[in-house]
Symmetry: C2
Subunit: 332 residues, 2 copies
């Protein structure tokens, strides 16, 4: 569990896309952000106050989150100076980078000297159990996609936001690096050992109040040849009561797999339901989330209406139209 | 890749079951076994000649395989003496134990001094790639089960034996620790990192002659809440042309999951086909393998006949009745 609030480190981000982790935190947990720290040449801006490390500490920051991808896959000297300074001033560090903070000897040394923690959310920090399949209390909703990267995380976060506005009990459960940095906790599922995947999701979504909803971040796709096993572990470990189908309508082929086409929403619905019923006979598909970022407002609206008529399920782009209708469906 | 032939180390096996890894090697690769080595109190016997390490080396042994589970989960002093002696006499060691040889400092030292290898097949020794889903040459057959431990490995090994007798090109592809020790090679799939599971199976079953069959060892079950993700990675990484359904007819519940029942063979057939078609639209279920070890000969025969009539597929217990009819189905 990462201590909050955060100072967001944007480094020398080449462009806004390089800082998408910081953007996610700013979009979904603005109350956790005391400010941003940018180096010379930074081309990203979260619209937060630019703070020195000392200023951030004075405002209560507990952790500096590396919210930017590093250039060239290594930690540059200009970053290193700032990271050490953060540790020396009492901040923990949190990172989703592929190269791990814990493998940088100088950072480990400074962290030890100052009693600080280095959080590498790329890899698990817990020994997860084998899944038991025992029925748990509380409700769970899982987003499943026709493909990878179709908006499953944003769908769950949009729904959580609406549910909290309605004073419903709801918790977004992160299963990927960005999600973990946004919420400060979660399971980096793609880095878990095969035998413990489903168990890690049971661990992430434990017994809860009967009227509490876990909104579980989806990963991969049951139809993605590279990652489908990860997805099925989510379905069986997550024991979902409700499924949301997620789709991106403009793909030529499955992400990273030029020879593969996305399944239809009907196919995804039937396959996901068949598999989810193994752990919960009462599971239902309650709605559809379409990522319409590449469409005009008119085309987005028309596609959602057409899909809704065809599938008989509330269909929205939750980021564009809000997630209210998906939450209505959960409540019904 | 583990060097052969083997000396089978049976240690102080409490009973024959404790030496089931050695039994598997003896049953399926007798030509790889130069003999066995037993310690005082050993209650297992493979029917092989009892050899000293020096005798085994003289007969060409290259590796001593630990074919027995260790008592108490640690390597006892009586074992340690023999393991070191094997290394000093020029043998490699291979083990599927949970506690790793490579974590025993004295064994590592002796192995280094003598230029020998310690093979811990419990964990991967390869950095596997992400699966690409690219169609490969050659044919692949995968056993899928209604549950874990229903005879998938034995089914594949029985089929390989028949195919080799018929001079067909066939290779058993091990995906578990016992299978790896039997064949000297394979992927310990349950210990692979989630993102690389399907890729490890692509790596295990590469391009081959068009008339070559890989017989892929199954793992888990699509219906097993703890391990289903591992199974789906096998289906999508393995790109099977043929599926064999495996079943054990006397289970009260899914293995390790008291609240869960096995699916019917019809359910397994439909779900496995739907998922396997994602990577190979021409995949077929060609036969059924029933583990009848707990049934009388008459009941076994009657159950196979009944299942064959109901499912319209050749149905045998390959260990009891031979795998010929399953191989006939592959050829057809």
């Amino acid at each position: 569990m990462i201590s909050t609030p955060y100072l967001l480190f944007l480094g020398d981000a080449a462009d806004p896309l390089a800082a998408k982790v910081a953007q996610g935190i700013k979009d979904w947990r603005p109350e956790l952000c005391v400010g941003q720290l940018r180096l010379e040449g930074c081309n990203a801006d979260m619209g937060l106050e630019d703070l020195s490390i000392a200023e951030a500490v004075a405002r209560g920051a507990k952790t500096m989150v590396i919210g930017v991808a590093n250039r060239g896959g290594f930690i540059s000297d200009s970053w290193r100076v700032v990271l050490k300074q953060a540790l020396e001033n009492g901040l923990d560090l949190a990172s989703g980078l592929h190269n791990l903070l814990r493998e940088e000897q100088d950072l480990v040394l400074v962290a030890d000297q100052n009693g600080r923690s280095l959080h590498d959310v790329r890899i698990p920090s817990v020994r997860y159990p084998i899944a038991t399949g025992v029925k748990r209390h509380g409700k769970r909703c899982l987003a499943v996609g026709t493909d990878c990267s179709v908006g499953k995380m944003y769908t769950a976060l949009c729904m959580e936001k609406v549910m909290r506005e309605r004073n419903m009990k709801a918790t977004f459960r992160a299963t990927g690096q960005t999600g973990i940095l946004i919420t400060g906790d979660g399971v980096p599922l793609d880095a878990v050992i095969a035998d413990f995947m489903a168990g890690s999701i049971e661990y992430l979504t434990p017994d809860n109040d009967d009227d509490h909803w876990d909104l579980i971040e989806g990963q991969g796709s049951l139809y993605h040849a590279s990652y489908s096993g990860v997805t099925l572990a989510l379905v069986h470990g997550g024991q979902p009561d409700a499924l949301i189908l997620c789709h991106e309508p403009t793909r030529d082929h499955m992400r990273g797999l030029p020879d593969y086409q996305q399944p239809s929403l009907e196919e995804l619905r039937d396959t996901a339901l068949t598999l989810a019923r193994v752990v919960n006979p009462d599971v239902k598909v309650v709605g559809i989330s379409i990522n319409t970022a590449a469409l005009s407002p008119e085309d987005a609206k028309a596609l959602c209406e057409k899909t809704e008529a065809e599938m008989g399920l509330p269909t929205v782009d939750p980021f564009r139209h809000g997630a209210d209708r998906l939450v209505d469906a959960l409540e019904a």
